[in-house]
């Protein structure tokens, strides 16, 4: 690697690390993701400073063409991360659905309580087939 490219890669990596640390300090990242990205950033910074390390690791793993090892590592890492996000997203969707349902039921309960002044429980039951006072007779 030419010295100029070396410096460029190093600066980009350090920039990314600073960006992550700023996000963490503003508490815009959950701690678990902060830890993940800080460690990834640190590893990248070390590798950018001493590219020899990456080559040596690749040779140790038995890879003849060293850049391939780096690319493989990157793809595998990103793949796992995206799968994890899909999982998390499914879980969040499930939870927001439950919250929406709960909200609908609470809203209904509130309307009942307000409509009957909360005096008699019997009058709050749904079967009463009389229009509630709130619903205006437009026709």
């Amino acid at each position: 690697m030419s010295p100029r490219a070396h410096i460029f890669v190093f600066l980009v990596t350090v920039g990314a690390l600073v960006f992550i640390l700023r996000l963490v300090r503003r508490r815009q990242l959950r701690a678990k993701y902060a830890m993940l990205w800080v460690s990834v950033g640190s590893v990248l910074a070390v590798l950018a400073t001493f590219p020899v390390l990456a080559n040596r690791a690749a040779t140790l793993a038995g890879v003849d063409y060293q850049p391939a090892a780096l690319l493989f590592g990157a793809v595998a890492f990103l793949f796992l991360l995206v799968v994890h996000f899909s999982w998390e997203l499914s879980r969040l969707e499930d939870r927001s659905r439950t919250v929406a349902e709960e909200l609908a039921m609470l809203r209904h309960r509130l309307e009942q309580v307000e409509g009957s002044d909360g005096t008699d429980d019997e009058t709050t039951s749904p079967p009463a087939r009389t229009p509630e006072p709130g619903s205006a007779q437009s026709d």
């Binding site: 349902e101 809203r107 209904h108 749904p126 079967p127």
Partner: protein, 246 residues
């Protein structure tokens, strides 16, 4: 509250998921109450932009307003949870667009008394049925029927019918988990079979949809069919919630 629960345990809850149905809902509610005296109706307003909830309330139903659109599956689960929370032991799923005939509800509910947990109103079980569906849709429905038959060991002529009755065990199961995505009715049927619920099917007559087109294009149908196939295969391997009764 327990006195109210006591009476509700014999009453039938009609669950109507509704999305922008202010036009058809009043007539549907009127016909329901006129045909079936001893029912309670809950309308789940699935994030409608019109006055669906107001119309439902004015028509004498309980109206649950969801803050945003969850789809039929989400609206239904809300209805099941409402039913379980309020002590109902029987419920019927009913369409807001006038497709279902209140006169058929009694026939739909009858098998519950004989021990069925879930009753499906089939548009095709009866030879005299005159319900029309498109060619692609009909073919997709047939393939689904075969798939469900292979995996559940039970024969259903109409796996995607949205006209269904639920007993206490089915209500409990579906209040906890009911599929959320499109064609959720098929998925729910598979879930019921996998959980060892007794599923019955009765022929019902249905009207052709009053307004609007069934919102399905063939590629969308294909996508959901593949998704469903996957769900079905996975469901089969889940441990049953309870042993199937012999």
């Amino acid at each position: 509250m327990s006195a109210a629960d006591e009476t509700r345990s014999d009453r039938l809850l009609v669950i109507i998921p509704a999305f922008n149905e202010e036009a058809s809902l009043p007539a549907v509610l009127d016909e329901l109450y006129a045909t079936l005296p001893a029912i309670d109706v809950v309308v789940i307003d699935d994030g409608s932009l019109d006055r669906t909830a107001d119309v439902a309330r004015a028509g004498g139903a309980a109206a649950l307003r969801l803050p945003y659109n969850l789809g039929i599956g989400g609206a239904l689960r809300t209805g099941f949870r409402y039913g379980v929370d309020h002590g109902y032991r029987r419920a019927v799923q009913f369409d807001a667009d006038g497709q279902h005939d209140p006169g058929e509800v009694a026939a739909l509910v009858r098998p519950l008394a004989d021990g069925a947990d879930l009753v499906i109103g089939s548009r095709f079980a009866d030879a005299e049925s005159d319900y029309e569906v498109g060619r692609v849709r009909r073919r997709a429905m047939r393939v689904l029927g075969i798939t469900v038959r292979v995996l559940s060991g039970q024969v259903f002529t109409d796996t995607s019918s949205g006209f269904r009755a639920f007993g206490p065990d089915a209500l409990d199961l579906f209040a906890r988990s009911y599929p959320a995505e499109y064609m959720e009715s098929v998925e729910a049927l598979v879930m019921a079979c996998a959980s060892g619920l007794r599923v019955a099917e009765v022929p019902v007559r249905m009207r052709t949809r009053a307004g609007g087109q069934p919102s399905t294009r063939s590629f969308r149908l294909a996508y959901h069919y593949v998704r469903l196939l996957l769900v079905v295969l996975v469901t089969k391997r889940r441990a049953p919630l309870r042993e199937a009764t012999p």
